[in-house]
Structure formats: structure tokens, C-alpha cells
């Protein structure tokens, strides 16, 4: 009984949710992560469940510290998400969310690549329904694009796994490392789900189109499964350090110029994953711990921010920064909770982001990557600006938009409160989290230098923001490096980006037209040959059929005689 893989419970609950009436469904949904979490605690460490499948052995349940941590995390994430979406009366969303959470849990406990692939594809499929559930044309389009990219990632994973299997004769999912075509395919597959630069568009495209509650689930699972997979398969791959550093920096520019606050959060998500990817790329005990701990915290504080924005969207129907403002008057509690999330993501001391992000930063310095360290520092300032200040400021303060509403439903508040409590608890008592980490490093988070450096960073960023906001213009003299950067990304970069985009748009339009014309020609010829009345599809006269027989007979006679 105890040895049942944890995802089974979620799949069964999804089945039940598909038929049960609303009340009973709510009870089942609330119970699943709790019961599942308890069962998880009872799993023996280093348990390995093997199932014979055809002539292979699959391992649907492999328990070690790494998978266990993500298992616990996903149960917490699922519980928060479920509480947050309890008021929604949409059966399909609930079923999809349960299946989605179950698939994420299945993926982290998968001991072999084939099982991983199955859950990888289930993640893609089920999460797409959370986007479709918005039932708008935009959501439909974004969901379809999302699905195509996610399925592509799965196909790459399968292809890579097959090549590895052929090479080594084993499907076990352990350290893979970058060597050979198979491992490279898997790397790209993980990279797509992890939103590597240039492969990240699905995330910022689709997440803001999901339902207010769906985004909370989406932000918790897909990318974190990818982080887990990278940590398992590609720890210590140096390329990841630079990929990660790029991921922390480039979204900042987009996040700053973006108006849709949920899309801002989507960009900031890529940025946070960048920190984890850097940590995994370093591969030392401290760096891995930092990456994994940061994944843990990110689910909770990013979830909290997504929930607060979801609550705003739910109550006001608007999400653009320019349409909102002054909401603290009518939603004070939500505003307060949002600020807790913002403080956590900005890594204020005593909030959860601080205790994990600083581990990665320290590890980067220890391993001798000062350039990367500076990039991460810049990224930290950027996070504070766009997620820490921009989100709460534009939504709840800023100019009064005149919107008068009320606090969101109780379940939404409860979910946000729970996440906020976790943020503060981990921030104040990080040892609870460190216990769960795969390595023991004896890292002390509240070291004077860490706190001082972080506070300097935050204070100067805040000061810069406040000052720029008050003066309303950008003065020539700048006081700190942060402001330099600020100027770079608030004025120069957008202008430059805009210029480039215009050029690119022209090119891509021409390119698009050409492709469109070409594909139209190809399609027309396909229809001519394969369409209902096409050469290959119409009913042929008997004579022609016989002719083909004669042709084939002649061909085979000639070939056989040769």
C-alpha cells in the first residue's frame, strides 16, 4: 500500500473529480495532497519500485533525497493551488489540475527515461487544458503553440532516450552529461521545458493566457520538473552556468517594458530559473543545494505573486499595469500578502528568497566566476525592480485607477496566506529546508557579509526607483551602479530593442510572406494529389487497377531476373 507511486493518488482523484458533484469534489481535491503528503512521509528512503514492461524494467518510483524534496514541494504547491482554485466551478479545470500535479509528481519520482517521458508528455497535455480553460481565442492560440512546443520537447526526449538506450543498453535516468547526440537531444528537451534563452517563448506566451487559477498551477510545476531533470541529469555541465546567467539577465529588459503584470511575472520566472540553472551548472554541493532550495522557494513565492495577481484579475477583470493602481484601499490584505511575496523574490533577509539565492551567489564566487557573479548581481537588482517593486506598486499603489472592489474569496486569501507564512517561516528558519537538501554543507545564511551586501543592493535599488519616480525624468548624474543599469534597461535597451524589433519585424514579415506563399503552393499540390478527389484518393476505373498489377508484375519479373 505504502509502495504505491504517489502520482497514482492524484490520477485516481482526477478520475473521481470527473464524476463527483461539486462539494464532494472539493473535499476530494483538498484531501489528496494532504493524504499524499502523509503517504510520502512514510516512503522508505532509497526505495526503488521496478515493473516489468515488455522486455524492459521501468521504475515508476525511485526515492532519494532529490526526488523526495521535489515530491514534498509539489505536494505543497498542489495544495496551495487547489485551495486557491476551490471556488472555481469548472470540472475540466479541476481534473486537468489534478492530473497535471500528479504528472509532475510522477516525473520527479521516475527512475528511468521512458517513465519520465510518459509524465513529460502528460504534463504537456494536461497543462494545456488549464490554458484552454480560459475559453478565449487568444488562450486557444497560445495553448496550441504551447502544446506544440511541449510535445516537441517530449519527442526530443524520447529520441534522445532511444539513442542512449541503444548506446548503453540502459534506460536508467541518472547523471547523463553532455556527450554524444542522444544526451544532447535530451539536454535540448530539458532546456525547452526549462525555458532556456531562445527556447523560452512558450512560457511568456502561454502562462499569462491561462485562467487566474490555472497560472498558479502552471508556475509551480512544468519548469520545476525541468529544473529537477537538469539537476539529475546534467549537474556540473559548465555550459549551464552561462546559459543560466543569460537567463537571469535578458528577461529583465522584457519584464520592465511589459504591461501585463502576469507576463512580467512570467519573465521574472525565467530569471529565477536562471539562478537555479547556474547553480546546477556549477555542480558543487553548495551550488546544487542553492539551486534546489531556490526551486523550492520559487514555487512558493512565485506562486504567491501569481496568486495575488490572479486575485486582482479575478476581482477586477484587468491585469495591465496601466489599468490598475490604488487597489490597496479596497484589497489591503491582498496587497500585504503580495508585498510578502515581493520581498521574498527580491531576497530580503528574513524572507525565503534570501536563504537560497545567496547560496548560489556564494558558490559562484567560490568557483571563480566573477563575471557570472556580476551578472547575477545585476539580475538581483532587476528582480527587485520588476517583481519586487513594479508588481505591487502598479497594482496596489501608483495612481488611483478608481477601481473599487472587495477582497477576493476566502479560499484565495487562505491560499495566499499559507504561501506567505511559508515564505516567512523558511526565511526565518531556513534550517527546516536545509534538512531536506541532498547535501549537507553547513552553510550559514545569516552571515554579516551576505546580509550587508543584499541590503546594500536592495536599498540602493529602492532609492533609485523612488528617486526616479519622484523626479519623473532621468537626470544626467547617477549615484550608483544600479541606477546606471536602471538607465540602461529603462531607456536605452527598450529603444534599442524597439529599433531591432522594427527591423526584425520587416524581415520576418517578408520571410513570413514567402513561407506562406510557398506553403500555399505545397498545400495546393498536396490537396491536388491527396485531397478527396486527388489522384491518389479517387476511385479508379478497374482497367487502371489492372494496369498497376501488370506494371508491378513486370517490375518484379525484371528485378528478379537481374
Amino acid at each position: 500500500m505504502v509502495e504505491l507511486p504517489p502520482f497514482v493518488l492524484f490520477y485516481l482523484a482526477a478520475l473521481a473529480a470527473a464524476v463527483l458533484p461539486r462539494r464532494a469534489r472539493q473535499v476530494v481535491m483538498l484531501a489528496v495532497p494532504l493524504v499524499g503528503g502523509l503517504a510520502l512521509m512514510n516512503l522508505a528512503p532509497d526505495l526503488l519500485l521496478r515493473v516489468a514492461f515488455m522486455d524492459l524494467y521501468l521504475e515508476p518510483l525511485r526515492v532519494d533525497k532529490l526526488s523526495m524534496l521535489f515530491g514534498i514541494l509539489f505536494h505543497i504547491g498542489a495544495f496551495i493551488g487547489i485551495v486557491f482554485s476551490l471556488h472555481v466551478d469548472d470540472r475540466s479545470q479541476h481534473v486537468a489540475a489534478l492530473l497535471y500535479a500528479g504528472s509532475a509528481i510522477g516525473a520527479v519520482f521516475a527512475g528511468d527515461l521512458l517513465t519520465l517521458f510518459l509524465f513529460w508528455e502528460m504534463l504537456a497535455l494536461t497543462s494545456a487544458f488549464l490554458i484552454f480553460a480560459n475559453r478565449t481565442d487568444r488562450a486557444w492560440g497560445a495553448g496550441m503553440r504551447y502544446l506544440v512546443i511541449q510535445v516537441l520537447s517530449g519527442v526530443l526526449l524520447l529520441a534522445g532516450a532511444l539513442m542512449l538506450y541503444r548506446h548503453s543498453g540502459s534506460l536508467a535516468f541518472n547523471h547523463i552529461g553532455l556527450n554524444g547526440a542522444g544526451s544532447f537531444l535530451i539536454f535540448i528537451a530539458f532546456g525547452i521545458k526549462c525555458a532556456f534563452p531562445l527556447l523560452h517563448n512558450w512560457l511568456t506566451d502561454a502562462y499569462p493566457e491561462a485562467t487566474p487559477t490555472g497560472t498558479v498551477f502552471l508556475s509551480a510545476f512544468t519548469t520545476k520538473v525541468a529544473v529537477y531533470a537538469l539537476a539529475r541529469g546534467f549537474a556540473g555541465t559548465e555550459a549551464l552556468v552561462y546559459i543560466g546567467a543569460t537567463m537571469t539577465c535578458f528577461p529583465i529588459f522584457y519584464a520592465v517594458i511589459e504591461n501585463d503584470l502576469r507576463r512580467v511575472l512570467a519573465y521574472s520566472m525565467i530569471n529565477q530559473i536562471g539562478f537555479m540553472v547556474v547553480g546546477i551548472g556549477l555542480g558543487t554541493a553548495l551550488a546544487m543545494n542553492g539551486a534546489i532550495a531556490h526551486a523550492f522557494n520559487d514555487v512558493i513565492f512565485k506562486g504567491l505573486l501569481m496568486m495575488s495577481m490572479g486575485a486582482v484579475l479575478h476581482m477586477t477583470g484587468r491585469i495591465n499595469g496601466s489599468d490598475l493602481g490604488g487597489l490597496y484601499k479596497s484589497m489591503p490584505v491582498t496587497a500585504g500578502l503580495c508585498i510578502v511575496g515581493a520581498a521574498s523574490i527580491s531576497a530580503f533577509p528574513l524572507f525565503s528568497g534570501f536563504v537560497s539565492k545567496s547560496m548560489v551567489m556564494v558558490a559562484v564566487l567560490e568557483e571563480g566566476h566573477p563575471g557570472v557573479w556580476l551578472a547575477l548581481l545585476f539580475a538581483s537588482a532587476g528582480v527587485f525592480h520588476h517583481a519586487g517593486i513594479k508588481i505591487p506598486f502598479f497594482a496596489f499603489f501608483s495612481h488611483d485607477s478608481g477601481i473599487r472592489t472587495t477582497e477576493p474569496p476566502l479560499n484565495m486569501l487562505a491560499a495566499m496566506g499559507l504561501a506567505a507564512v511559508l515564505c516567512i517561516f523558511i526565511g526565518c528558519y531556513p534550517w527546516a529546508l536545509y534538512e531536506l537538501l541532498p547535501f549537507s554543507t553547513g552553510y550559514a545564511p545569516f552571515d554579516g557579509s551576505h546580509i550587508l551586501a543584499q541590503i546594500q543592493l536592495l536599498v540602493f535599488s529602492a532609492a533609485a526607483f523612488a528617486w526616479l519616480k519622484v523626479s519623473g525624468i532621468y537626470p544626467p548624474e547617477l549615484h550608483s551602479t544600479n541606477i546606471d543599469v536602471e538607465w540602461l534597461y529603462r531607456r536605452l535597451a527598450p529603444r534599442w530593442v524597439r529599433h531591432c524589433t522594427q527591423r526584425l519585424t520587416a524581415v520576418s514579415e517578408t520571410l513570413g510572406e514567402t513561407t506562406q506563399n510557398a506553403s500555399r503552393v505545397v498545400m495546393r499540390s498536396v490537396v491536388r494529389h491527396y485531397g478527396p478527389e486527388g489522384t491518389l484518393a479517387r476511385s479508379w476505373p478497374t482497367g487502371s487497377m489492372v494496369l498497376w498489377v501488370a506494371v508491378l508484375l513486370a517490375a518484379s519479373l525484371i528485378l528478379y531476373y537481374l
Binding site: M54, L162, R166, A537, S539
Partner: protein, 492 residues
């Protein structure tokens, strides 16, 4: 003892039941007889398989005339496996046939219909079980003639044309096979296939043998609807009565593939068929074209039965690709797909049969919103469709997996790509149906919802079988690999 006479019973029971069915004539009685006889045949084939598992091979001689002179039945893993497929499908589909046939065929012809059904079953079983080349031809004719009748009974007027074309093409195919067998007889002086194989070794390098081989492969290519000899098949399957489409799609081409394998491996031998002759190259080219072109055609079809017919042609492409690999793994994949394809096409055609029973049409445009009006029927279609695509945990995945592994083993990467491309094309044509049924607009309020239980139960049996054999492969893959070993001349 009765257990010793099982090989004869396998053929004789349906053969004798056919005239009895004609005499009974009343629809219900005829149906009941067909169902019972199919069931008995299924039991016999299961018992035969049990005997094979125990003792390996069964040789049965008629009337005590010993092998090269009398007619002998030679049963090993390969044909016991095909017998099981044919009888199981016949039994399941005959349950379905009762209501379906009642709605599509006039009462006074139903007796004749079931008579033809039993004759067709007799023919298919005879072809599979016999060890005598001429006997094989006779049974081939029995099954062919009765299947022309079955197709012609479709309630669309085009069914007559389709049956006529099938008659012409089938006859040409059968004639070619007869010419091939005749040439071999001329060369070896024997009709017993085992005997023929031994004597052929000495004279294999003669023009007669090569010509015989050419006639046999082309004739059988016609029967299995190998591209470009498939032109008779779409209309034949599309306009036949629903139950017949399901029955023939799941059995007739399978038996023809079996015969091709039997002649290639057991009579001519691998060295001749796939070594000396360039058959492997021909099969890989035609198989690849079949997979890609027939799948693409299927995407554009409006008539879903025609769509499935083209999908069948594509599936035959997979079967042929497996053979062309000329390895035990490839042959295992082919035999496995033989079984799994019978399950998925059976399930899909039965689902369409339910739809036809309710709507009187299987055009895509009429299916809008059907997923909510006929949830159980569409459930079968979805499972069968997923299996056709080859989604993991369905039977279709297993056969594709074996096929891909076999191709990878030979290092034929282009073939792997073609198999994957075929699956992607299948996603499109299956998705079209699912999209219309679940997301499309309902055309007008139609009264009534689900098909009757007697049609849903067999359809669900096959759907569940698709899932079961997607997870438990001991039976399907186990026997398939042993059958492949037997055909390759090894001991199981």
C-alpha cells in the same frame, strides 16, 4: 479423441454450418448459428494454441493419407496465432452484427448474409491452417467469393461497383497465386508446402522458380492491398455493411500477409526470398510510400470508413516494413502489429458501425457534438484512435515500439523517421474526428443517444483489449516472437 481432431474441426465446423445456415434462413437463427460457430472456432483455436505451446508443432493428415500425397495440415506458432486472431475477431464482431445487420440488410437476405459470413470464415481459417499449396488456393477462393457477396450486400448502391472491382482484382490476384503455385508444382512435383520447400532448394536458381515467386508476390500483394495494388480496398471497405468492414479489415488482409510470410519464409526460404531476390528493397520502398501516401490521403477523407480504409493501407505499409527488415526482430514486429492492428481497426470500425446505426451516415460533417450524445461509442473511437496513433499504454504503441527498435537494430534510420512521420499523420486524421465530435457544433436535434448494448459491448471489448495488450504483452509479443522464430527456421 476429440483433441486429436481439432485441426479438422477448426475448418469443418464453419464449413458444415454454412449450408445449415442457408436452410435455417430466419435472421435470428442464422445469427445465433454464426455466433455459436464463431465461438466454437475460437475455443478450438485456443485449444490448438494450447497444444502448440505444449508440443510445438501439429501435423494432421486427412483420411490417413500421409504427407506429400494426401492433404496435410501443418500447424505451428505462426498459423495458430493467426487462427486465434481470425476466430476472436469473428466472434466479437458477430455479437455486434446482430443489430447492425438488422438495420442495414433486409430481413429476407440476412440468412444469406450469415451463410456468406460462415463461408468467409471457413476460407480464412482454411488458408491459415492448411499445409497444402493447392488447398490454400481453394480456401482462398472460398473466402474471396464469399467476401465479394458480403461487400455487395452494403446498402449503398456503390457497394455493387466496389464488390465488382474487388471481384476483378481478387480474381486476378487469385489467378496469379494459382499460376505461381502451378509453376512451383511443375518444378517440384509436389503440392505439400514442407515437401515443396525441401525440393525447391535444389532448383531455386531457375527461371521457373523466379517467375513463380514473382507471380506469388504480386498476387499476394494484391490480396494484402500493398501499395500500389490497394486501389480496390477503400471502396470495398467503405461501402460494405459495417460489420463486414470490421470483420474483413481485421482479418482478411492479416491472413493474406500470413500467406505471404509462409511462402517467403517456409517455402522459398529466407535466403532466396530476401537474399537472392531483391524483394526486401521492393518492400521497403512500397511500404514507406504506403505509410506516407495513404496516411496523407486519409487526412482529407470525409467518409470515415474510407478514412479508416486508407489508414489500413498505411498500416499494411508498417507490416511490410517489418518484413523487409529481414530480421527476427522485424518479423516479430510485423506479427505483433498483425494482432494489434486487428484490435484497433476492429474497435474503430465497430465504433463507426454504432455511429452508422444511429446517424445512418459516417461522414465527418455529421459528427458534430457526437461525443456528448454518444459518449460510450466515441470513447471506443478515442481509445482505438489513440492506439492507431501509437500512444503509450495502448496496443499500437507496443507494435510501433518493436518496429522502431527493429529498424534501429538494422540501423535503418530513414525507416524510423517514416514510422514516426506516419504516426504524426495519424494524429492529424484521428484528431479531426475527435475535434468534430467533441468541439464541433451539433447540426440538429437528433432523438436518441447511444447505440444498443449488443453493439457497444463488443466494441468496448476490443477497446479494452487495446488497453490490455498495451500493458500486458506476454501473450501478444510472446507468441509473435516465437512465431517469428519458427518462420526463421529456428525452434521456439
Amino acid at each position: 479423441m476429440i483433441s486429436a481432431q481439432l485441426p479438422a474441426l477448426q475448418v469443418v465446423v464453419p464449413l458444415l454450418a454454412a449450408p445449415l445456415c442457408l436452410v435455417l434462413h430466419r435472421p435470428f437463427a442464422a445469427w445465433l448459428l454464426t455466433f455459436v460457430v464463431s465461438g466454437i472456432s475460437l475455443l478450438v483455436s485456443v485449444a490448438l494454441l494450447g497444444q502448440i505451446l505444449e508440443q510445438g508443432v501439429i501435423d494432421y493428415t486427412f483420411g490417413g493419407w500421409a504427407a506429400p500425397f494426401g492433404i496435410a495440415y501443418h500447424i505451428d506458432f505462426a498459423n495458430a496465432y493467426v487462427l486465434l486472431i481470425v476466430t476472436a475477431i469473428s466472434t466479437v464482431v458477430s455479437i455486434f452484427a446482430k443489430r447492425s445487420v438488422a438495420s442495414e440488410i433486409e430481413a429476407h437476405s440476412q440468412g444469406l448474409f450469415y451463410t456468406a459470413w460462415l463461408l468467409c470464415l471457413t476460407g480464412l481459417l482454411g488458408i491459415t491452417i492448411t499445409g497444402d499449396a493447392f488447398n490454400l488456393f481453394v480456401f482462398l477462393e472460398i473466402s474471396s467469393l464469399s467476401s465479394y457477396v458480403l461487400i455487395a450486400m452494403g446498402n449503398d448502391r456503390k457497394a455493387l461497383t466496389a464488390a465488382y472491382q474487388y471481384l476483378i482484382m481478387g480474381t486476378i490476384g487469385a489467378t496469379f497465386i494459382l499460376i505461381g503455385i502451378g509453376l512451383l508444382y511443375m518444378l517440384t512435383g509436389t503440392l505439400n508446402m514442407l515437401d515443396m520447400a525441401q525440393r525447391l532448394v535444389a532448383v531455386a536458381d531457375s527461371r521457373t522458380a523466379r517467375t513463380g515467386f514473382a507471380f506469388l508476390t504480386v498476387g499476394l500483394g494484391l490480396k494484402i492491398a500493398l501499395f500500389p495494388l490497394h486501389l480496390w480496398l477503400p471502396n470495398a471497405y467503405a461501402y460494405a455493411p459495417s460489420a463486414v468492414s470490421a470483420f474483413l479489415a481485421a482479418t482478411a488482409t492479416k491472413v493474406a500477409v500470413y500467406v505471404l510470410l509462409r511462402f517467403m519464409f517456409s517455402v522459398f526460404g529466407i535466403d532466396f526470398a530476401l537474399g537472392a531476390m531483391p524483394l526486401s528493397t521492393m518492400l521497403v520502398v512500397l511500404g514507406s510510400v504506403a505509410v506516407l501516401s495513404a496516411s496523407t490521403v486519409a487526412i482529407f477523407q470525409h467518409n470515415l470508413k474510407r478514412m479508416l480504409a486508407y489508414s489500413s493501407i498505411a498500416q499494411i505499409g508498417y507490416l511490410v516494413l517489418g518484413v523487409s527488415l529481414a530480421t527476427p526482430a522485424g518479423l516479430t514486429a510485423t506479427l505483433l502489429h498483425l494482432f494489434n492492428h486487428a484490435l484497433m481497426k476492429g474497435a474503430l470500425f465497430l465504433a463507426l458501425g454504432c455511429i452508422a446505426w444511429r446517424l445512418g451516415s459516417v461522414r465527418l460533417g455529421d459528427l458534430g457534438g457526437l461525443g456528448y450524445r454518444m459518449p460510450w461509442t466515441m470513447g471506443v473511437f478515442v481509445i482505438g484512435g489513440l492506439s492507431l496513433i501509437g500512444l503509450p499504454l495502448t496496443a499500437g504503441f507496443i507494435s510501433k515500439w518493436y518496429l522502431v527498435l527493429a529498424a534501429v537494430e538494422r540501423g535503418w534510420w530513414p525507416v524510423v523517421l517514416i514510422i514516426i512521420a506516419g504516426s504524426l499523420l495519424a494524429v492529424i486524421y484521428v484528431w479531426r474526428v475527435i475535434e468534430t465530435a467533441y468541439l464541433g457544433k451539433t447540426k440538429e436535434a437528433v432523438s436518441g443517444t447511444e447505440a444498443p448494448l449488443s453493439m457497444l459491448v463488443p466494441a468496448w471489448l476490443l477497446a479494452i483489449a487495446n488497453l490490455y495488450f498495451g500493458m500486458h504483452t506476454e501473450l501478444s509479443a510472446g507468441i509473435a516472437s516465437q512465431a517469428a522464430m519458427v518462420l526463421f527456421g529456428g525452434q521456439p
